[in-house]
């Protein structure tokens, strides 16, 4: 492999994007896995396509409109669940398909044609523009700061929502905040792996490390590290073999998850599955 690529501008952007998105991905992915928000996150990420379409129609930056739209969708899901007592499954199904449909309609109405639709759907980490890097840094910083300062209430809400209510925590507000952070992270990850594959990158690292940790902060740190390894590993493999980066990252993540699952089920790991054994320090 020609390592001269390491010094090229677009490759450095890709590395920075991988590092920054892994931070948000590992932290928020941990919440998504333990709070069982995987389907909601999938709905939010597919709704992002509607936001991209609106961006094309209004001739504004598609990522800006995607961020605004996914945030609104995240809040909408949270509020509908609370106020309208709708089944969360139904809401997710509606948002999932309607978001994609809205995107298709908007793009067909937009003047000209959309050349890089494929990269919105399946991502391309090598196409991250320089001006996006500071923005990604700010998003990651927001996620880190919110989680550091609100660690205790967020843990209470994700662990036992009913009890958090009895403890007089602002449960609705915290749940909406969590959905907003999911929306923020999803939009960042779309650059890396695309709308359709986001859900796997958000959940697989956290799900993989889950059986090896006993506390939420450990889970977050471990899944940030694993996300980073997977993003960089996928990036190098895709370059070496000249295959799409987003799909490579996801296949690598799935492979690691599968192998880890198989290893933790083996009798040599202590007999009880990694989950119970690892915490007895």
């Amino acid at each position: 492999m020609d390592l001269g690529i390491l010094s090229s501008g677009f490759f450095q952007n890709a590395l920075m994007a991988a590092v920054l998105s892994s931070v948000a991905c590992g932290i928020i992915g941990s919440y998504v896995v333990v709070k069982r928000m995987v389907a909601v996150s999938g709905g939010i990420s597919h709704a992002a396509f509607g936001g991209v379409g609106i961006g094309y129609l209004l001739s504004v930056d598609p990522f800006g409109s995607a961020l605004a739209f996914t945030s609104l969708v995240g809040l909408g899901i949270g509020i509908m669940r609370e106020k309208a007592h709708q089944e969360i499954d139904t809401l997710i199904g509606a948002v999932w398909a309607a978001g994609m449909a809205l995107g298709v309609v908007c793009i067909s109405l937009a003047p000209g044609y959309a050349p890089d639709l494929f990269s919105y759907l399946f991502g391309n980490i090598l196409l991250v523009p320089s001006q996006d890097i500071p923005l990604m840094a700010i998003f990651s910083l927001i996620v880190v700061l919110v989680v550091v300062f609100l660690y205790v209430p967020l843990q209470a809400v994700t662990f036992d929502e009913e009890y958090a209510r009895v403890m007089n925590l602002p449960v609705s507000g915290l749940s909406l905040l969590l959905l907003l952070m999911v929306a923020l992270t999803v939009v960042m990850l779309i650059r890396i792996v695309g709308i359709i594959l986001v859900i796997a990158l958000l959940t697989l690292p956290a799900a993989t490390v889950r059986s090896y940790v006993s506390r939420l902060p450990e889970m977050m740190v471990a899944s940030v590290a694993l996300s980073l390894v997977l993003s960089l590993g996928g990036l190098f493999l895709s370059y070496a073999w000249n295959i799409p980066s987003g799909a490579t990252i996801i296949l690598l993540a799935t492979l690691v998850y599968g192998v880890s699952l198989a290893l933790s089920r083996l009798p040599i790991s202590g007999g009880g599955g990694g989950g119970t054994g690892s915490g007895r320090s």
Binding site: V34, R36, F149, L150, V152, P153, Q155, A156, T158, F159, D160, E162, Y163, A164, R165, V166, M167, N168, L169, R210, V213, S214, R215, L216, E218, M219, G275, T276, G277, G279, R280, S281
Partner: protein, 211 residues
């Protein structure tokens, strides 16, 4: 019923007052043991962290920083419920009885005046259940305990007052659960079985066994 007292559900008629306060205020003085497994036991959280979350209603400020007093209260209640050796273990690695004690510890760590228990022994085995009720007997000295159960035979030895609920609430200042009380509640004749002994196996004439 307990969730209405706690203000988690609004009553369809009437109001709830706890020492004259609305539920959201009064529940600060209530310890709550929900029905077993209302949350995910595979959540990566240690026993100590989980018990600590029972202090949250006493803490002001959005960040919810725990103080030394909170941590001391946690150590005391862990010691009292024999959970101290398990404090740093993830809750997923505990046995059913240990998990139930951890839930009780979370309810007690806020030093409540009332303890509400919702079917606390549904998911634990009989010997653990006896231990659990022994624990509640010890606590009786220091606080009021309100326990909801469908298992009237087992609890009747332990309680001091009985309230039967089926649309109307019938309260009785006696630990005895009699047929009259149940008939008043269910509006139909009731055969009372397995009363007076902690455990008894009844044989049906046409079946092998059953309780």
């Amino acid at each position: 019923m307990l969730k209405i007292i706690l203000g988690l559900y609004a009553p369809s008629s009437g109001t709830v007052r706890i020492w004259g306060e609305p539920p959201w205020k009064g529940r600060e003085r209530i310890g709550y043991v929900p029905q077993f497994r209302t949350f995910d036991f595979s959540y990566p959280i240690t026993v100590r962290e989980m018990v600590l979350s029972g202090r949250l209603s006493r803490i002001c400020g959005a960040w919810k920083r725990f103080t030394t007093a909170d941590r001391r209260a946690v150590e005391e209640v862990l010691e009292r419920l024999a959970l101290a050796p398990l404090a740093d273990r993830p809750i997923a690695s505990l046995s059913g009885g240990e998990q139930q004690r951890a839930i009780l510890a979370r309810a007690l760590v806020g030093k409540p005046d009332i303890l509400l228990l919702d079917e606390p022994t549904v998911f634990i085995d009989a010997p653990t259940e006896v231990q659990f009720f022994d624990l509640l007997d010890d606590l009786r000295e220091s606080l009021t305990i309100l326990l909801v159960s469908h298992d009237i035979g087992v609890i009747s030895r332990r309680v001091t007052r009985v309230a039967c609920l089926n649309r109307t609430l019938h309260t009785h200042d006696t630990p005895e659960i009699t047929e009259d009380m149940l008939e008043a509640t269910y509006h139909c004749p009731v055969d009372l079985i397995a009363h007076g002994l902690p455990h008894r196996v009844l044989k049906h004439p046409w079946e092998g066994g059953g309780r």
